[in-house]
């Protein structure tokens, strides 16, 4: 498989608020980190696949490609998608097709530039009918949780435990982010923080259940496998990637208790990677809320529908960095997740991939996970666009599976 896509370097900025920086400066910073890592020059790039979800709205930037061309003095083909995973998928296809050998994949978002209007924009893009009816970005998560509770008949004592499990997800992600220098939040929180925010909100989810609004950029360099060793000793291969799409109007979807798009995409990605699910030891899931982390673990197939909260609760009492599922360890959102690492939408996927790549290369520092004294062999990234309207799954591994 000489055309197998391989990630030879990853880079990112800190997520959070970058008041003084232009969006292009953020991507430049991420790209420089990545290119330094693999000693790659701009002129080696044959194409750029970029992503941003909001720049035309938040920064009144159209034709982001042109800004990047001006910055890099490059005239190669450039395409813009809405998420890093989407950009990566397109780049992988091009590499596999043999069209390009070396491409840049990157994402930028600058949401805080439109701080006071961003929730309206988010909701309008994510689910217009729900927006018109008065929905907020948070409301869909709460409704999904209520639908989940009802469908799985969680009540009484169990309901308290589920709520506590969700709170622990948030606490865990904040704890993980303490070890991540790029994370938006470096602040340990406690169960009490989460619970009292919920009490203030007078509903199931509160401030500490949701990912923040962020600025940031991420970048990775993708080559075909036969070239990868020129740039790095440790290429990370894209073994499987897939996406699926669901209705934009959340209430119209057949299943309100999870994301069908994730389920479909994961099945296809696993098939492409030709590895069993159980071999995946690390997962970066799209936790725009604690509910999303819970539900994504189920949607990805790690837990049966309606059960993940039991696993989470069971292992979070004495949290050692992983959830125990099916008798094995599953490390989820070791970078702090969207909750604590940050969620600059168009760049988020890059940070998720960054984390898995670093973990698979044993370069994650304090966050490095070990499974039975070995670094994990495979990891997966789940990125969503909208409220589960699109799901992208990327399965990464340190070696190519020989057929």
């Amino acid at each position: 498989m000489q055309n197998n896509p391989a990630i030879v370097a990853v880079g990112r900025t800190k997520f959070g608020e970058h008041y003084g920086k232009k969006p292009e400066q953020l991507i430049e910073e991420a790209w420089l980190t990545a290119s330094n890592e693999c000693s790659l020059e701009r002129k080696n790039l044959e194409a750029c696949y970029l992503s941003d979800c909001f720049l035309p709205i938040t920064n009144k930037l159209g034709l982001e490609e042109g800004f990047l061309s001006e910055l890099t003095q490059l005239h190669v083909p450039m395409e813009v998608t809405s998420s890093v995973s989407a950009a990566l998928l397109a780049a992988c296809n091009a590499i596999k097709a043999g069209v390009y050998n070396t491409v840049l994949v990157g994402g930028i978002e600058k949401m805080t530039d439109r701080w006071d209007k961003i929730r309206d924009d988010l909701m309008l893009l994510e689910d217009p009918w729900s927006y018109y009816a008065g929905g907020t970005p948070e409301a869909n998560h709460e409704l999904m949780l209520r639908a989940y509770i009802k469908k799985h008949n969680v009540s009484g004592d169990d309901l308290d435990k589920l709520n506590l499990a969700l709170a622990k997800i948030s606490v865990k992600n904040h704890a993980q982010a303490l070890k991540n220098k790029f994370a938006q939040f470096h602040r340990r929180i406690t169960i009490e923080h989460v619970l009292s925010a919920r009490k203030n909100a007078r509903k199931l989810l509160g401030l500490y259940d949701f990912a923040p609004i962020s600025d940031g950029a991420s970048a990775l360099i993708l080559t075909n496998a036969s070239l990868a060793n020129r740039f790095t000793d440790q290429p990370i291969y894209v073994l499987g990637e897939s996406s699926a799409t669901d209705f934009i109007t959340f209430p119209s979807r057949r299943d309100l208790t999870g994301f069908s798009a994730t389920r479909i995409a994961m099945k296809k990605a696993l098939k492409m990677a030709e590895i069993p699910l159980i071999d995946i030891g690390i997962a970066e899931v799209y936790d725009q809320s604690t509910v999303m982390e819970l539900i994504s673990i189920e949607d990805l197939g790690f837990c049966e529908a309606g059960t993940a909260w039991r696993n989470i609760r069971g292992t979070c009492d004495n949290y050692e960095g992983y959830y125990e599922v099916n008798g094995t360890k599953l490390f989820v959102n070791t970078n702090g997740g969207l909750k604590a690492d940050g969620n600059p939408i168009g760049a988020t996927g890059g940070a998720q991939i960054f984390e898995v790549v670093k973990q698979l290369k044993n370069q994650a520092g304090d966050r490095q996970v070990m499974i039975d004294n070995n670094i994990p062999k495979f990891g997966c990234v789940q990125e969503l666009e909208g409220f589960g309207t699109k799901a992208y799954i990327t399965i990464l591994g340190g070696e190519i599976i020989e057929q």
Partner: protein, 502 residues
């Protein structure tokens, strides 16, 4: 929304909740579309339009929105959730309206989930004062509260009349009231205005009349509180209620707004009746709506005296020559240029001529029109069963009725100003509705409107034998709206805030 084409499309679908059903596989969709996702190309042309506006739904799941997006801020906190129709075949997002949720109030969501809800036509969200006001019917009220669900069932007409008259009517007021000095007045919720009340009243009139809305050939909307200086309320009513035949995305109906202070609607009763009576008229039914979010300056400001009496509400009457509940047997109109009450363009609140609003204005015109009508029809006050007139305050109608020689039992039932306030264009029609709610067949009714500026129209109505059977179709009558355990009373500050709207 600053884009008019987008606004038009969202409103076209959302105001009347246009959905569709595949006639091949039965799958239902919100919103309307040209083909079925299951059946593909063969379903082209086989999608049936359905309209959820008259349906009832079920609140499946809900949560509290206490940090709304910018455009919903003025609503404060509200309940938002997922509503299903037709046993879950269609699900839509929606917010519960007509609820004031206090800042520290705990809402028991499980108590709300599973309950039936009814779509309400309301303002969608706030926009700047120069923009088109967005509307939507993804706002819902609980069916077991103020407004129960009423089925809109078309009943073939059974009887033709030679004289035109009233086929059906509906009165819409809000569930909110303010009570001051023993007077209760209807207060709009923050997402209501004269446009939304006009549509809701029209919907109720259609339900009561049980006629096919496509047979309504003309709609008049009288109001003096249209939120637009230029843009008709009537076009909104025609589109949301789908009056007249549908021609592509237009309605084959004539729609017009009228203005003459508080007689803007009642003046058109005779026009509507005449239109359906025209010898080769293709218009079978005509609808007249009077709707006002009556304006008044705050107390203490110039014109603030009116703030003791202004109300909110709409009434709609459908005129035709089939299955009448009351025939129009005569009318008499009187007009003079008397400046007793006015509002200059661009001004938010009206002013009035103080002591000159009585004798030279209200009393003079109401008396003359009523006396001349009785004279024309050879009737004396004693021959009349019910007398209704305009009610700007509780005192004027009683005084004019006495001056005309009517006894208390002839007019007391019509006095609704103590319950709803002065609903301006909706006022004398609401008084008439209170009478029609209880009248017997063959009762003689005189209703005399009054519009400042000034003029009066006096009508002689005779109820028919059908009035009783048709009454069954209207559960939401004046009584149910005055004696309702779900009425919410608000204080003066809240009243002024709600009155301002989104």
């Amino acid at each position: 929304m600053s884009s008019e084409p987008i606004e038009r499309r969202v409103s076209y679908i959302g105001d009347t909740l246009r959905a569709c059903r595949c006639s091949i596989c039965g799958q239902e969709y919100f919103d309307a579309r040209d083909y079925c996702g299951n059946c593909g190309r063969k379903s082209f042309g086989k999608m049936q339009n359905i309209n959820l506006f008259y349906d009832k739904g079920k609140l499946e799941f809900c949560t509290l929105v206490n940090e709304p997006t910018n455009k919903f801020r003025k609503l404060g906190s509200y309940i938002y959730g997922i509503i299903s129709f037709h046993d879950g075949k269609i699900r839509v997002p929606g917010r519960l309206t007509d609820q004031i949720i206090k800042e520290d109030e705990l809402v028991d969501f499980s108590d709300l989930e599973g309950r039936e809800v009814i779509p309400r036509f309301r303002r969608r969200y706030s926009v700047s004062a120069t923009e088109v006001i967005p509307t939507i019917s993804l706002a819902f009220t609980l069916a077991d509260e103020y407004y129960p669900h009423q089925e809109y069932k078309i009943v073939p007409s059974s009887k033709e009349y030679d004289t035109p008259g009233i086929v059906g009517y509906g009165v819409y007021t809000s569930r909110f009231r303010i009570k001051e000095n023993r007077i209760e007045r209807a207060v709009p919720f923050i997402d209501e205005d004269s446009v939304t009340a006009a549509v809701e009243a029209g919907k109720m009139a259609l339900i009561h009349s049980a006629i096919d809305s496509s047979l309504v050939g003309k709609v008049y909307v009288g109001s003096e509180s249209n939120p637009y200086a230029v843009k008709p309320i009537a076009s909104k009513v025609a589109q949301v209620l789908r009056l007249g035949k549908e021609e592509e995305d237009m309605q084959a109906v004539d729609a017009i707004d009228t203005e003459f202070a508080c007689k803007a609607a009642s003046s058109m009763f005779k026009d509507a009746a005449s239109l359906v009576n025209y010898y080769d008229s293709e218009i079978k039914y005509a609808m007249v709506i009077g709707s006002d979010n009556s304006q008044a300056a705050p107390k203490g400001c110039p014109g603030g005296e009116l703030d003791d009496f202004v109300g909110f509400g709409g009434s709609a009457y459908i005129f035709g020559k089939t299955d009448l509940i009351a025939k129009i047997e005569g009318w008499y109109s009187i007009t003079s240029d008397t400046p007793d009450f006015w509002r200059r363009d661009g001004q938010p609140f009206p002013l009035h001529g103080g002591r000159f609003t009585g004798d030279p204005a209200y009393f003079k015109h109401v008396k003359k029109a009523t006396e001349k009508l009785m004279e024309k029809c050879n009737l004396k006050p004693i021959d009349i069963d019910y007398f209704i007139t305009h009610q700007p305050n509780p005192r004027f109608p009683v005084k004019v009725a006495a001056q005309l020689g009517f006894k208390e039992d002839q007019y007391s039932i019509s006095l609704q100003v103590n319950k709803f306030g002065n609903t301006y264009s909706g006022c004398s029609p609401i008084g008439l509705a209170a009478v029609l709610d209880i009248a017997k067949p063959e009762d003689l009714i005189i209703v005399t409107s009054y519009g400042s500026g000034a003029g009066s129209d006096s009508y002689l109505l005779r109820t028919t034998s059908q009035i009783r059977e048709k009454r069954e179709r209207q559960k939401i009558n004046i009584k149910s709206q005055t004696e309702n355990q779900f009425i919410k009373f608000v204080d003066y500050t809240t009243y002024r805030r709600l009155k301002l709207g989104m």
